[in-house]
């Protein structure tokens, strides 16, 4: 072959050289094309962005970072959490819903998004996006709240509390970590299920709200186990009930609402979503990854050590749960919006 190139005829030599160059070039192009095709099949080929619609800090941020840190080991590509906060999650939600549906931009969802979307609908506004703009990959936590009161309060059991609340409608005050948010809605759902009326003082954040119960500035609140259990154990708070169907694994002595015959349920969840038109193979792949992440020991530790529980709902299970939840929350929000309009 090489000898062939050393022919004396320079013209021929050039021609042959050109030809071999073309063939060589062709092969390179073909190989590159193949590699590109293969790359398409081998999703992910580049880093994945995970939009967190809430600001840095907070449980949601940490749980999404925990998910990303374990997922990137499984997929072999970096997964970068980007905080795109604003308008109680709406700004980041829009960015996630309208991102290119190629599996490289995913969104962290939480019950906060349901709250915000349903609040918009309840007020007759068109939300900038809804759950139908997303394909559900998974949700990985599902935690109930605890009804917490000050240990010095006269109520020893949920029964005492219910009796007193019936006798004094609108007199007992509660606080929430934010209006129409994830520590306000469980109380509204509970109040409706038990036929009670309370006085609401919204606070900014869960910490200040718990502090208000400890300092006796309000009478009760509903907060999540990771932050309230240590204070219950330390004697600064007393839990009267778990707001849900089941008792907690980590504190089985606290009765749940169902024990008292009250049908009140509300769960904080965190999940991963992809834009609506994401191709099915990528969605399937992501669901596989989510399953692996949620059975990974280090991930379970990152979620459960703080006192939460990994509770995986994959794909359609999660979508179905989200539908049911949206209907329930939508109904309560509609009533709240009506009350707010009256004021």
């Amino acid at each position: 072959m090489l000898k062939f190139l050393y022919f004396d005829n320079t013209c021929l030599k050039r021609e042959v050289a050109m030809k071999s160059f073309r063939i060589f070039g062709g092969i390179i192009c073909f190989l590159l094309g193949l590699a590109a095709l293969a790359g398409g099949a081998e999703y992910p080929a580049r880093p994945i962005t995970l939009i967190n619609p809430m600001p840095p800090g907070g449980t949601l941020d940490l749980q999404s970072r925990a998910f990303a840190s374990v997922a990137e080991k499984i997929i072999g590509q970096p997964m970068v959490v980007v905080n795109k906060s604003g308008a109680t999650g709406m700004v980041g939600g829009v960015a996630g819903a309208t991102a290119a549906p190629d599996g490289y931009t995913l969104t962290v969802g939480s019950v906060n998004l349901t709250n915000a979307i349903e609040w918009e609908i309840a007020n007759g506004r068109k939300p900038p996006f809804t759950r139908h703009d997303f394909i559900s990959i998974c949700s990985f936590t599902l935690s109930p709240t605890l009804l917490i009161v000050n240990p010095d309060s006269p109520w020893k059991t949920l029964g005492d509390f219910l009796k007193d609340a019936k006798a004094r409608p609108g007199q007992i005050a509660f606080c929430s970590g934010g209006l129409y948010g994830m520590s306000h809605l469980p109380i509204e759902i509970f109040a409706r299920a038990a036929g009670l009326k309370f006085r609401h003082v919204p606070y900014s954040g869960g910490g200040p709200c718990i502090s208000a119960v400890v300092g006796k500035h309000v009478d009760f609140a509903m907060q999540y186990p990771p932050t309230s259990l240590p204070l219950i154990r330390g004697g600064k708070l007393k839990a009267l009930a778990v707001v849900g169907k089941e008792r907690l694994k980590s504190a089985p002595d606290i009765p749940c609402m169902k024990d008292a015959g009250i049908d009140a349920e509300y769960y904080g969840w965190v999940g991963i979503m992809a834009p609506k038109k994401t191709p099915q193979p990528i969605v399937e792949k992501l669901r596989e990854v989510a399953k692996k992440v949620c059975s990974d020991k280090s991930f379970i530790d990152l979620i459960e050590k703080p006192g939460d529980e990994v509770n995986l709902l994959i794909g359609d299970e999660f979508a179905k749960y989200w539908d049911q939840e949206s209907q329930k929350i939508g109904k309560v929000q509609a009533e709240l919006a009506k009350e707010a309009a009256k004021k």
Binding site: P55, P56, G57, G58, T59, D61, L62, R65, A66, S69, V82, N83, K84, S85, G86, A87, T88, M90, V91, W119, P128, A173, G178, L179, Y180, R199, H200, V201, P202, Y203, S204, G205, G207, P208, I210, S211, A212, V214, G215, H217, V218, P226, L229, P230, L231, R233, G234, G235, K236, S298, D301, L302, K305, P306, G307, A340, K343
Partner: protein, 502 residues
Amino acid sequence: MDVIGNLLAGFQTALGLHNIYLCFIGCLFGTMVGVLPGIGPLVGISLLIPATYGIDATGAIIMLAGIYYGAMYGGSTTSILMNIPGESASVITCVDGYQMTQKGRGGAALFISAWGSFVGGNLSILGLMILAPLLANFATRFGPPEIFAVLMLAFILLGSLGSGSFFKTMPMIFLGMFLGTVGMDPLTGNFRFTHGVKDLYDGIGFVPVAMGAFGIGEILTVTEESLVRVIHKVRMRELLPTREELRASWGPIFRGSGLGFLIGILPGSAHVLSSFVSYAVEKKVSSHSEEFGTGRIEGVAGPETANNAATGGAMIPFLGIGIPTGPATAVMMIALMIHGIRPGPLFISEQPQIFWGLIASMYIGNVILLILNLPLVGIFINLLRVPFRILFPLVLIICLVGTYSVSSSTFDLLILLGSGVFGYIFRKLKYDLAPFILALIIGPLLEVSLRQSLMRSDGSFSIFWNSPISLTLLGVSSLLFVWNLITTLKPKSTWKKVLEQE
């Protein structure tokens, strides 16, 4: 005493090579976070939490706490040198700190700021160590009526913040309070003055506003004159404070330590409030109060000490009973929870090695920061030698990147630039910007605490005098207000003096 034994055990933990290393990393990163405008300790801590997954709980909290108090050291640097607040607690440092730089005393301002931070930091750890269990319960007694009373007192103290006339300060305060109402009303969920702009739903963030009004406003002002400006050569002698400056800062440093520590315990924007209050107090007690705003060392020493002392105070409710009162301590608590440690009322007795290890590491961290920051004074001051045509575009880029990196919001960039133009115009008109920024921060807190109190009491104002804390504080505020009124209405004694001298 039990404290000494525990502290020694704590030092045993903290002096392990591994923990000293983590403490150093935290302090270094914290200083960087503080120096970079826009990025505050909250973002810094959140970003480094994943890095602590592989470390034990003690090491993790040592490192993250290092970022927290380290940021308070670094924050003053850009405030003093370039009039750009490095983070929100250093806004007020711009006022006199930057004037000192203009007079060639920037090095001294940086030196005193580091020294004050060191003293304030250590005194507040001392307070934290001895008083944590006691004061933690006290902190929860501050509900909406008490907070309202504290803010009212602060507001009246701060009425004298501006250097200009009453008629130029008040409009700025009202404007700040007005802008503070923009966004979703946290108590009813209604949108106020948003005009359908989604980016305004969360309100106007004061970090881009402060950076724009002070920093970019300054750049715009300087560009008018920079072409003929002689670059300031810094001599070694100017890096160190004079004996007079040192003497003048002792008072502010001690008062700042006390104020910062106490305000730090209260829920809310403790660091920002503590620095503003310290400035106002220094101005009140100083015999040269009319010179504030022209580069008095007290105006740097007090606030910079106070914001560091506030870190110790802010950790009291968090470590003492497990209730974080600010966003930065809330993130640190979550970091501990990831490691399976859940701070609660029993934290100190059940996890003594973590608590005392952390306390000891904070003493070590403060020494590290002092050693780190004093030589940095010499390096940073050289920034002033960089020609303006290079330095200011660079500063502009840092401001833009810093703002964008926090929220990834282009709207915040518009706010930054808009505030820059606003700052430039009002500077030309000789209006003070500090009262404006302060009102933007305190206004919403004041409003919310007032309305929360009234919601709790179903509209009865008696809630304010039923609580002994709020009754006392409101009483002091009224006295102060009356005193202010008398001194304002009285013919200006200083004018008299000036006239007599002439």
